[in-house]
């Protein structure tokens, strides 16, 4: 058809034009890295690093954090920039990437590369994927020594740099203070006593409590689970306590690969969770137990559609148990106690080791964009933000006197007349989670039960030698995608107890995973893991 011919000619022209244009739009990543290398070479030969750094040019730094700007953000930024201008002749502008847009916007912001110096990153915030794609600048110990001396001294004797390695190079600046937290659950101590239920020391003890709640508290669902975080948590907790923690190397909430290794064994051997002779029977037993709870009405039938987390409905008296971790439960504990409930909190740790994996150093951090023009000044500014208390308090707690005050006994509290819900800059809300928390003071609002838990935690933490291992999925991306969606579809109902026949469901899951290519992932990742471990020796 004539029309189609003319049309296809026009199309080809515009296609070519578009390719050329996008080519123009793509800055080169490689030259940046050589610049960094040459600057470092110069920097390391100069003895006192600061005196050779030229601050005469005013510089504007652009950074990206996750979440959304709290209400008081503009005032805090103004104060921050006043300080930065004085100390470093620089100003900073921070933009936010919303949680719901992370999937789409995070990679785009880096791909376009416009105006970006630093960005928050972590393994759960696409660090391995983006580093592998060349989005970040390489960070060497020399660079840190020169431009982030305070931070360097805080991390140089830790495993931080090692954990951050991707293919032998480091691409992010980790936090100096990884979060010390353990998954935990809370229950109603007042009700436990009231109905004569024996003490609850671990999650596997919980069944009598659930039965008592079901029988006596009509308005409360013993396990009122939400569709995302809570769904697999009871099942997971039973498994962890039964043998020990298992970690999926391709972990995604509600998905993954179906393979796992045992962090505390240290050898990185991979197991098939669906048919391994040691692990699978335990999983199946626990799945049957969960199913019995589901059938007995201890679990809400439609958890898949419930968007209210158990720890929030716990506070309302609608759930007998609330799940979270030892840190984020803190607010809920305070709320529950304010409502007159007595709350018991129990950390969930491995049955054999008595421990849980510690968060790695890379769990919070930031990276320098490969195309950043002002990475030196950026690093220097971040050094102050990370390690200088006056900066830290500012970005973390807000403006002294307005958002927080320091009490006589060395704690952080709210100023007279301000209640927590009216605080325009709540702690942690701004997204600066990589600052050195070891320098933080305790909050006045921490309840005793929270403090007790907080103090117990360090003893419960163990180190996972593979904590910072990031798998390279280039050769298995098809299989990874398919195993992920297979698990989401078939394993979640098992974890909830909503399947008709647990044995049959496991067989089905197993065969579907095989069809999705789990064997190929097993071979590929086993090799990567053993290479990783031997390289660390």
């Amino acid at each position: 058809m004539k029309r189609l011919k003319v049309f296809s000619l026009l199309m080809s022209i515009t296609l070519i034009a578009s390719l050329l244009l996008t080519g123009c739009g793509q800055p080169q990543g490689a030259p940046q890295n050589t610049t960094a290398a040459t600057t470092v070479a110069q920097g390391s030969t100069a003895a006192p690093a600061e005196s050779t750094i030229d601050l005469s040019q005013e510089v504007k730094i652009t950074g990206y954090l996750l979440g959304a700007a709290p209400a008081g953000f503009n005032d805090v930024m103004k104060a921050l920039n006043d300080k930065l201008k004085k100390d470093l002749n620089a100003t900073m502008e921070i933009n936010y990437i919303g949680w719901s847009d992370m999937q789409s916007k995070y990679p785009l912001v880096l791909a376009a590369g416009e105006n970006i110096d630093w960005i928050f990153t972590a393994p759960w915030s696409f660090y391995p994927q983006q580093a592998a794609k060349g989005a970040f600048m390489e960070i060497t110990p020399e660079i840190l020594q020169t431009y982030m001396p305070k931070h360097w001294s805080a991390i140089k004797d830790t495993t931080a740099m090692q954990e951050a390695q991707i293919n032998g190079k480091v691409y992010m600046v980790t936090t100096a203070s990884p979060d010390k937290k353990v998954p935990s659950f809370m229950y109603r101590e007042d009700l436990r006593v009231k109905y004569g239920v024996p003490e609850i020391k671990k999650f596997s003890d919980i069944e009598p409590y659930l039965a008592a709640i079901k029988k006596n508290e009509k308005g409360m669902i013993p396990l009122n689970l939400e569709s995302n975080y809570d769904l697999g948590t009871p099942f997971g907790a039973l498994n962890v306590e039964a043998y020990d923690q298992l970690k999926d190397p391709l972990m995604v909430t509600g998905g993954g690969s179906g393979l796992a290794y045992k962090p505390f064994d240290g050898d990185g051997k991979l197991y098939y969770t669906t048919n391994d002779p040691e692990i699978a029977p335990i999983n199946i037993t626990n799945a049957k137990k969960i199913k019995s709870w589901y059938d007995a009405g201890y679990i809400n039938k439609n958890a898949f559609a419930n968007k209210v987390r158990s720890k929030d409905s716990f506070v309302q008296g609608k759930s007998g148990v609330g799940f979270g971790n030892s840190m984020d439960l803190q607010g809920n504990i305070a709320q529950a106690e304010a409502a007159g409930f007595k709350v018991g909190v129990v950390p969930v740790v491995g049955g054999k080791s008595g421990k849980y994996m510690a968060d790695p150093y890379i769990n919070n951090g930031f990276a320098i964009a490969a195309k950043s023009q002002n990475w030196q000044r950026t690093l220097m500014a971040m050094d102050l933000i990370d390690e200088d208390p006056t900066y830290e308090n500012l970005v973390y707690y807000g403006i002294e006197g307005v958002n927080y005050v320091k009490t006589a006994d060395g704690k952080i509290g709210l100023p007279e007349g301000l209640t927590a819900d009216k605080n325009t800059y709540p702690p942690d809300a701004a997204g600066f989670w990589f600052t050195n928390k070891n320098l933080h003071l305790p909050l006045t609002t921490w309840t005793q039960s929270y403090i007790d838990l907080y103090n117990r935690i360090p003893d419960l933490l163990g180190v996972d030698p593979l904590a910072a291992f990031s798998p390279n999925t280039d050769n298995i991306k098809t299989e990874a995608a398919n195993c992920n969606q297979t698990l989401t579809q078939y394993s979640n109902p098992i974890a909830l107890g909503a399947v008709k026949d647990v044995d049959a469901a496991y067989k089905q899951l197993d065969s579907k995973l095989k069809a999705a290519g789990i064997d190929k992932i097993y071979t590929e990742l086993s090799k990567q893991i053993s290479d990783y471990l031997s390289s660390k020796k």
Binding site: G23, N300, N302, T478, A481
Partner: protein, 310 residues
Amino acid sequence: MKLSGKAAGFFHEIVRNKVLYIMFLPLALFYILFAYIPMGGIIVAFKDFNYQGGILFSPWNGFDNFRFFFASGKAWQVTTNTIMYNVTFLAVYTLFSIMVAIMISEMSNKHFKKLSQSFMFLPYFISWVVVSAFVYNLFNYDYGLINNILKTFGQQPVDIYSNPGYWYLLLPVMYLWKWVGFGSVLYLAAISGIDQECYEAATIDGCNAFQKITRITIPLLKPTMIMLILLGIGRILRGEFDMFYNLIGNNGLLMDATDIIDTLVFRSLMGTQDFGMASAAGFYQSVLCFVVIMVVNSIVRKVDSESALF
């Protein structure tokens, strides 16, 4: 140099209607800048995208990015689901929109007309996030409103979240609820364009109300109806992602019945952030939509050339 016949015809046409083609120019410019130039990015579907290379220089990887979709074992299932749901939605939407539009246009009570029209528009503003919370409140097994009522009357509660069957009815109803306001406005506007004199002539000839509708309104609505149906068919492979994602979420019990291409792709790529694979899935949908609409449009064009889309 003498221009060949075809080129000469082309220029002759442009010159003859130059005012009209100039009037079309602003729109054409917009589409070139914002649609055709970015369209080059479609090659990402065949590349192993990395930032150093960008769109132009990332290495080619043939059909690798397409593999995950076809190896999932669900490609056929989600494709048929997508088509089936879209066809149902289109049919129900068209039927009810026309019916409501005709009824409203015949009404004499102005207040009723205006009010009912405004009310029907409200669902457009309610996001699927909020709708899913509503549905949960209504239907959840343990304390949903509907189940409370059923229990009061001694009936068994329904568990819609564990049984896919309900959704074959629920989804079209909800789709209709959301869009009937929109659809009826479109057909109402078309009805408003019908010359009143036709109706007056019909009354003189002794037609009753029903006959006026079947003999005048509906035939004159045919072009609009065909066009809207064609437009709907052109999107037959693209699912209503928001709706399915918020209502079904990661409910594995319902997925075989309610998974569409868009939700499957989203779930599969959640961990990987791979532009190439996402682009490949989009390409698959585009190609199928293209084939379908080209075929259907040419059939329509043979029957009645003025009703075709292009």
